[in-house]
């Protein structure tokens, strides 16, 4: 308890000092805006924050989200490569979302306020931690950390203590379902054998003198009490215990409308003995174990009038157990309530390069990721029908590209570029050929039109930046929020329609996935800067591994060219030290290579050793 308090204090004071330190440490130009901290949400203030967020979400025109994860790729070759086909890309995203944890979840609802002609943003920064709240007999909860990602977060003063000590845990829908199913199973099992449960303690051996004396005393106590109760019914006898000590150990209470004794201050062995005494000597007394509202357990001996009454009592106790367990499951859902809200409100969700984010949301809060991208897309569309990606928006539209003036479309540079009035607190910067969209920020009761917490790479602030970029981008696309009716869903706006539900499957090669159809499109036209190399033909590619690690790409190319023809190899690409992709100029070479490889491997004679490919074929090969 003490340690816990200390930790909270430490975490809070750190957050506070960070909030104080931030405005002074931001680089010039100095923000002139008000600098109050983000709304941080942890276990301790989750319930009120959720209630508040519910109101804001209901009123919002769109919601920006952002996630901070414990890592992105679990091994170098799992990074997104140019050679990856789209199905492989999905599998890599799946691998990442399954292995890494979400540490922070930023949610920022934006609402258009017609009276001030500005948006009101409510940035929330949720600390999330996959704590195991329910006892399950499955594998323990585990997640991966990518060292560079953790170090990156540390450089931005990420508060790991707040996350681990105070982070909000969660259950996915599937986990909740599973827990309830298990509970029901257990409930039915115990209902059917209530009686045998009672007899379980029959074989207590009384071989210690202390035990014999103790059980004797207990027996006397309870018969006294029971007799007292019976007398009480006739006369008005008030039960008296002999000593103060006993009063504390045996407290008479009412349990489910029946007289009962609450037992405290015994060892587990003594409880066992008491249970044995009750079962053996008292027909009309029942020993029950209940878990109270604040999860403290209570041992009771209850007076029952008949056999039927015992059954009734046991059923009542079981039901209460079940209710208690259900409550526990309910409270373990934790952060997922926010996701359920996002899903049920069906608002437009805005993210920046957010395919991986969405995959994380799916695997953490819905259920295990499907095996194929198509299945994933169709089921995510059910939960979140409208998603828009600001990175894609910025790259897809000519007006916006011009506005960005070819600068990078990373979140912070896009924010600085498009929303300079918010980023720097000045309106003079840049070629403002269009009216900047005003954004006011509200955190709790403080509201300002000029906010800069400077907390870059805090999920809440990143979500805020994403939302601002989106609002500004909409304005550039010609959406006039002044004419926009609150009832209208932005997602159906014709100027945005083309970009809704289009996400970058991977930024590396610009493949775009359409969440509403599941189709994967090539990048649009020539605007995509990175698509300069020749088209990759997957059927021309082989994967070679197991060769000596010092072999360089050039040598591998020479090796193969010697056997086939000098122009047979288009490119050699190192995945990591242990494997390469070799792209042939013709698909025919692939099968030729594999056949040749097999014959060389089968014969151990001098021919195979002297063959030019021998150097390479210490290893193995396989097609793509």
């Amino acid at each position: 308890m003490n340690a816990h308090h200390r930790a909270t204090r430490r975490a809070l004071s750190r957050a506070l000092s960070r909030a104080l330190a931030r405005p002074f440490s931001t680089s010039s130009p100095k923000p002139s805006g008000a600098a109050f901290p983000l709304k941080h949400v942890t276990k301790s203030n989750f319930e009120p924050a959720l209630a508040e967020l519910r109101q804001h979400l209901r009123a919002a025109d769109f919601v920006a989200i952002d996630l901070e994860m414990s890592g992105v790729t679990s091994a170098p070759w799992r990074e997104s490569l140019e050679f990856d086909r789209s199905d492989v890309r999905y599998l890599k995203v799946k691998d990442s979302a399954e292995k890494f944890a979400v540490l922070q979840f930023g949610v920022c609802p934006f609402r258009w306020d017609p009276s001030t002609h500005s948006f009101v943003a409510h940035p929330h920064n949720f600390y999330v931690f996959p704590r195991q709240e329910l006892p399950v007999d499955g594998p323990s909860y585990e997640f991966l950390c990518q060292t560079t990602s953790i170090d990156f977060l540390a450089r931005y003063q990420f508060d790991f203590n707040a996350c681990i000590y105070e982070g909000i845990s969660y259950l996915s829908r599937q986990q909740e379902h599973e827990a309830l199913r298990r509970l029901n199973g257990a409930y039915e099992d115990t209902l059917s054998d209530t009686r045998c449960n009672l007899k379980e303690v029959r074989d207590v051996r009384l071989d210690r003198m202390a035990d014999i004396l103790f059980t004797e005393r207990i027996k006397n106590r309870f018969s006294e009490w029971r007799d007292g109760l019976l007398r009480d019914r006739i006369g008005g006898f008030q039960l008296q215990w002999n000593s103060n000590d006993s009063k504390q150990q045996f407290q008479t209470i009412f349990f489910k409308m029946r007289p009962a004794i609450s037992l405290t201050g015994f060892t587990s062995h003594q409880f066992k003995l008491i249970q044995w005494v009750i079962n053996k000597h008292f027909e009309d007394l029942t020993y029950v174990h209940v878990t109270g509202e604040n999860f403290c357990s209570q041992q009771l001996v209850v007076y029952t009038e008949s056999k039927d009454d015992i059954d009734l009592l046991m059923k009542e106790v079981k039901d209460e157990h079940r209710r208690g367990a259900e409550m526990k499951i309910q409270s373990a859902i934790g952060f997922r309530q926010v996701i359920d809200l996002l899903s049920s409100e069906q608002k437009l969700i805005v993210g920046h390069n957010c395919f991986l984010d969405i995959a994380h949301v799916y695997s953490k809060f819905l259920g295990p990721l499907p095996l194929t991208g198509e299945e994933f897309v169709s089921s995510i569309n059910k939960y979140f029908p409208h998603i828009v990606d600001t990175k894609l928006l910025l790259n897809a539209n000519y007006v916006l590209q011009q506005r960005m003036n070819k600068s990078s479309t990373s979140l912070s540079s896009a924010f600085a570029r498009l929303c300079s009035q918010i980023a720097f607190g000045s309106e003079s910067k840049g070629l403002a050929f269009l009216q900047p969209v005003q954004v006011e920020v509200q955190v709790d009761d403080i509201r300002t039109s000029n906010w800069n917490s400077g907390a870059k790479h805090e999920a809440g602030y990143d979500a805020f930046m994403t939302g601002c970029i989106f609002a500004q981008a909409c304005s550039h696309l010609g959406i006039d929020f002044k004419l926009h009716l609150p009832s209208e869903n932005l997602a159906h706006n014709e100027k945005l329609y083309k970009q809704i539900n289009h996400l970058y499957l991977s930024w590396t090669n610009g493949d775009i996935i359409d969440l509403s159809t599941g189709k994967i499109e090539e990048p649009l036209g020539t605007k995509y800067p990175k698509k300069q190399y020749s088209k990759i033909l997957f059927e021309n590619i082989i994967l070679i591994w197991g060769f000596p690690s010092k072999l360089k790409a050039q040598e591998i190319r020479q090796c193969i060219s010697k056997v086939f023809s000098p122009t047979s190899v288009t490119s050699v690409y190192h995945l990591d030290e242990s494997a390469v992709f070799v792209q042939f100029s013709k698909a025919g070479f692939v099968s030729d290579f594999l056949v040749l490889k097999e014959t060389l491997e089968r014969s151990d004679g001098p021919i195979s050793v002297l063959h030019p490919l021998a150097k390479l074929l210490e290893g193995r090969g396989g097609w793509y």
């Binding site: 003490n2 340690a3 816990h4 200390r6 930790a7 430490r10 750190r14 414990s70 890592g71 790729t73 679990s74 091994a75 170098p76 944890a101 931690f129 996959p130 704590r131 195991q132 007999d137 499955g138 594998p139 323990s140 909860y141 585990e142 997640f143 991966l144 950390c145 990518q146 060292t147 560079t148 953790i150 170090d151 540390a154 508060d159 790991f160 203590n161 996350c163 681990i164 000590y165 099992d189 010092k550």
Partner: protein
């Protein structure tokens, strides 16, 4: 502070006389340098070194723990998996000496984080965390921010050599070994050409040092001579094509050793790209430069090694290392600070022995005291010893308790040292002989037994195990059969009664225990029946209620399948799932598996299973 102390009952029990609080020196990046030199002297003056590690996780599923039926091979496979998967966040080291009943201890707690300090993707690309571990660390007040922000990084020995190649820093050459082979004609031509070039350059540099050229002229001169600057001194690069040429150049340069200092410029992939020659102005200047280079190199290695310096110090000291969970600890140490873990336990023990010649596991000593056999918790063991034996140990730590900030980390290492001292005193082992730093014979028999499931040495020789382990019976692995495919709510008792009537093999004495919810282990006490049972399970003649059970999904496998599960690393959450997968693996793997070392037989016959522990 009073409330804090009540959090630490073990602290109170450690204090025998005074009310002094034991303080463990907390070490992070900021005070690592000073602590390193401090611990160096402490190690030199101590007799033993206790270690204790804080990891980010250990077992992912119940059956991944060490189980009583694990052989050294399977136990190692389990420890290896954890060591490769999880990370160390704290490493407590405590050099200590025992003088009569006095324990002199110098505990340090190093905070580690595998930060990629050199931007070369080392020491660890990624690592796993178990939330339950992190939560319980949080409960103890662990400061994750301090650890991640200021933790000390490190590189293993294997990583260091890779890093040096990768960084390609110039390597100073202090000593040239003359090659024995006579130079060929080509060699002589090469040497003569380089020699005249060096001579010419050297003279030109010396000439120009007196008179001041105008800038244009001096840059022209530089161009012609191929001279560059190394700091304030002139230097030139001699390109080489082979290691032979490197040797020749270095030998040739011996002639000019008065004022020329050679450096080797490594190429990508470990070869040499060039030899750089630096011209010094005098003999004194040469010494100065050599010292500079030396310091530079030391600085570099220090940066590269980080916390591993401490491991190297412990290793170099040859002091016995005392640990509580040695197989887990040393698989971690081996994989993080030495080299990647070898595939099997024998290679591991060999490799480890070269670095740490004496490892003492307090659990091995505890096995001498019957009731402690099953105790895995250190405070419990200490309080048991305190209640049952008179062996007062007076502890003295030399650190001043300066910080009253409630830092309580790394105390485990003190407890280990304390427990070790107590055990030595109770078992009447004099831990050290005066004037002799090597391990005393009485302790030697406990040394280097890492397998948590192995028996203590005496026990295996006299065979009299019934005194305190009345439930322990020796059993060969051959008599064990794994069963799975039954209802998850099944208890061992019900399963046993189900089996009892199902077939003749179960009419003899046998026992059933659950390994996890999915899988049970059956011991046939009569030899040969396990084989019969497995044959029956695979035959068509299967009948009666056993047939019923099999049709409902019951499956069985021998112990070798379990061994394969571990050696192939099939770490599913349920053992049943893993066994199933191991059976599906192609047979070619089984061939290599059966050809393993003869030790296996020994282990098979020597296995002790304590069914009560399951």
């Amino acid at each position: 502070m009073a409330a804090l102390l009540s959090l630490l009952p073990q602290r109170r029990c450690l204090c025998t006389k005074s009310h002094k609080k034991w303080s463990v020196k907390q070490v992070t990046k900021t005070n690592f340098e000073e602590s390193l030199s401090e611990i160096k002297t402490h190690i030199a003056h101590s007799d033993f070194i206790a270690v204790s590690l804080q990891r980010t996780g250990s077992v992912s599923a119940p059956w991944h723990r060490f189980l009583p039926f694990d052989t050294s091979h399977t136990a190692y496979a389990k420890a290896k998996r954890a060591a490769e998967r999880f990370q160390l966040l704290q490493f407590a080291v405590c050099p200590f000496s025992i003088r009569d009943s006095k324990l002199l201890a110098h505990p340090y707690n190093f905070h580690l984080f595998p930060r990629d300090e050199l931007k070369i993707g080392m020491p660890s690309y990624s690592f796993s965390c178990q939330t339950s571990y992190l939560t319980s660390m949080a409960r103890e007040g662990f400061d994750f921010n301090a650890c991640i922000y200021d933790g000390i990084s490190y590189l293993s020995r294997a990583q260091e050599s890779a890093a040096i190649l990768q960084m390609r820093n110039p390597i100073p050459i202090t000593h040239v070994v003359k090659s024995s082979s006579t130079p060929s004609v080509a060699d002589s031509v090469f040497i003569e050409r380089i020699k005249s070039r060096v001579k010419y350059w050297r003279n030109a540099c010396k000439d120009s040092s007196g008179n001041r050229d105008e800038p244009l002229l001096s840059s022209l001169r530089k161009l012609v001579l191929g001279t560059e600057e190394y700091g304030s001194r002139p230097c030139m690069n001699i390109d080489v094509c082979s290691e032979r040429q490197v040797q020749l150049v270095l030998e040739m340069l011996e002639e000019f050793s008065d004022d020329l200092v050679p450096l080797i410029i490594p190429a990508k992939g470990g070869a040499t790209q060039a030899v750089r020659v630096i011209l010094t102005s005098s003999k004194e200047d040469k010494v100065l430069l050599q010292n500079e280079l030396q310091n530079l190199q030391e600085e570099q290695t220090k940066k590269v090694r980080g916390f591993r310096e401490v491991i190297d110090l412990i290793s170099a000291s040859h002091r016995p290392v005392v640990s509580h969970n040695s197989l887990n600890d040393f698989t971690f140490i081996h994989s993080k600070f030495l080299t990647p873990l070898p595939p099997n336990v024998d290679e591991f023990m060999c490799s480890l022995h070269l670095v740490f010649p004496h490892i003492l596991d307090v659990q091995q000593l505890m096995k001498e005291i019957g009731p402690l056999r099953k105790v895995t918790n250190i405070p419990t063991a200490i309080s048991y010893l305190k209640d049952h034996f008179f062996a007062p140990i007076d502890m003295e730590t030399l650190h001043q308790d300066t910080a009253n900030d409630g830092k309580i980390h790394g105390h485990n290492v003190l407890r280990i040292a304390h427990l070790f001292a107590k055990l030595c005193s109770i078992l009447q082992i004099a831990p050290t002989e005066s004037g002799n730093k090597s391990l005393v014979p009485a302790l030697e028999e406990y040394a280097n037994i890492l397998n948590p499931c192995s028996m203590s040495p005496q026990e295996s020789t006299d065979g009299d195990i019934s005194i305190w382990t009345n439930n322990t019976r020796k059993v060969s692995c051959e008599h064990l059969v794994f069963l799975w495919g039954f209802k998850r709510t099944m208890t061992a008792g019900i399963l046993k009664s189900l089996l009892q009537g199902s077939h003749d093999v179960f009419s003899e004495e046998f026992d059933v225990r659950l390994v996890d919810k999915s899988c049970a282990i059956v011991v046939f006490w009569k030899p040969g029946l396990s084989k019969t049972f497995l044959n029956v399970m695979n035959s068509k003649e299967i009948c009666g209620s056993l047939r019923e059970l099999v049709s409902e999904g019951l499956r069985a496998a021998c112990y070798a399948t379990y061994k394969r599960v571990c050696s192939l690393g099939i770490w599913e959450a349920d053992l049943a799932e893993s066994l199933e997968k191991a059976l599906e693996e192609p047979d070619c793997l089984r061939k290599t598996d059966s050809g393993t070392n003869p030790l296996e037989v020994y282990w098979f016959s020597d296995l002790v299973i304590n069914l009560d522990e399951l």
